[in-house]
């Protein structure tokens, strides 16, 4: 995948905080990148990261392919009785969640700290 700085594609930055895994996608989550994004998130969950924050601060936009990946991740986390929290959305990203009817399906926090706190709860 090319870096977001290159104007194309998606980069995933991963970190950990208080036992919560944080994934920060940077760039576009579209039909070209959603597969890799979803596969990596699913891999993290299956390998034990059942408390997960996805930080949207550097996401330029997300298309239906990206929402499909998020739905799959959400269901997978539910199977493990874990918790998925999304955070730091721009107004544009927020608007896309509203349009797609996803705002009520996911827990969304304003800050990453809030996200980590919420995700670490059972």
């Amino acid at each position: 995948m090319e870096s977001a700085a290159g104007g194309k594609g998606l980069e995933l930055v991963e970190s950990q905080s208080d036992g919560v895994a944080i994934v920060e996608p940077r760039g576009r989550i579209d039909s070209m990148t959603a597969g890799l994004f979803g596969a990596r998130v699913a891999e993290l969950i299956r390998s034990g990261s059942h408390h997960l924050v996805i930080d949207f601060a550097e996401v330029l936009y997300i298309t239906s392919a990206g929402f499909r990946s998020l739905l799959i991740a959400g269901r997978l986390i539910d199977e493990f009785k874990g918790k998925l929290v999304l955070c730091r959305m721009s107004t544009e990203i927020r608007r896309l969640f509203e349009i797609g009817g996803f705002s009520d399906l996911f827990e969304i926090c304003a800050t990453r700290d809030d996200g980590v706190r919420k995700a670490s709860w059972p």
Partner: protein
């Protein structure tokens, strides 16, 4: 007007993203406008590359971009099976996580993000025109 011909493969969509980005910069379009059109084009073109050609052969898709009277217009033309996205069924946006499907969601994004969408079947070709007003 700028024009690009891509093949019916998902990996080709990046060329359209780049073209639209350059077009937006040249015409000093607001980032939000370019983003909305990029999303709509991703939805339309990923549909075409996935479903329009059951023969699995190589086909061309033509994309044209232009500004006309303060409106950003994208035309997508393909020789695939007849598909009018304006007649596609709406997704159930109220379903819960477990039951939620994303079929139809892409088309829903196109309808809601664009100011105007027209579809035309001419001979063996689909032609979809997406319009987005530049001034808010």
């Amino acid at each position: 007007m700028v024009e690009i011909t891509i093949l019916n493969r998902r990996s080709e969509l990046g060329r359209v993203v780049t073209l639209l980005e350059r077009f937006g910069a040249e015409h000093h379009l607001a980032p939000q406008l370019v983003i909305d059109m990029q999303i709509a084009l991703d939805e339309v073109l990923s549909n075409v590359t996935q479903y329009a050609h059951p023969d699995n052969a190589e086909h061309s898709i033509h994309v044209r971009l232009r500004m006309i009277d303060g409106v950003l217009e994208a035309q997508i033309e393909d020789d695939g099976v007849l598909f009018n996205p304006l007649l596609a069924p709406l997704p159930d946006l109220r379903a819960r996580l477990r039951d939620r499907h994303v079929g139809g969601l892409g088309i829903e994004f196109v309808r809601k993000l664009m100011d105007d969408v027209t579809y035309e079947r001419t001979g063996e070709r689909n032609r979809l025109v997406l319009r987005l007003r530049s001034e808010s």
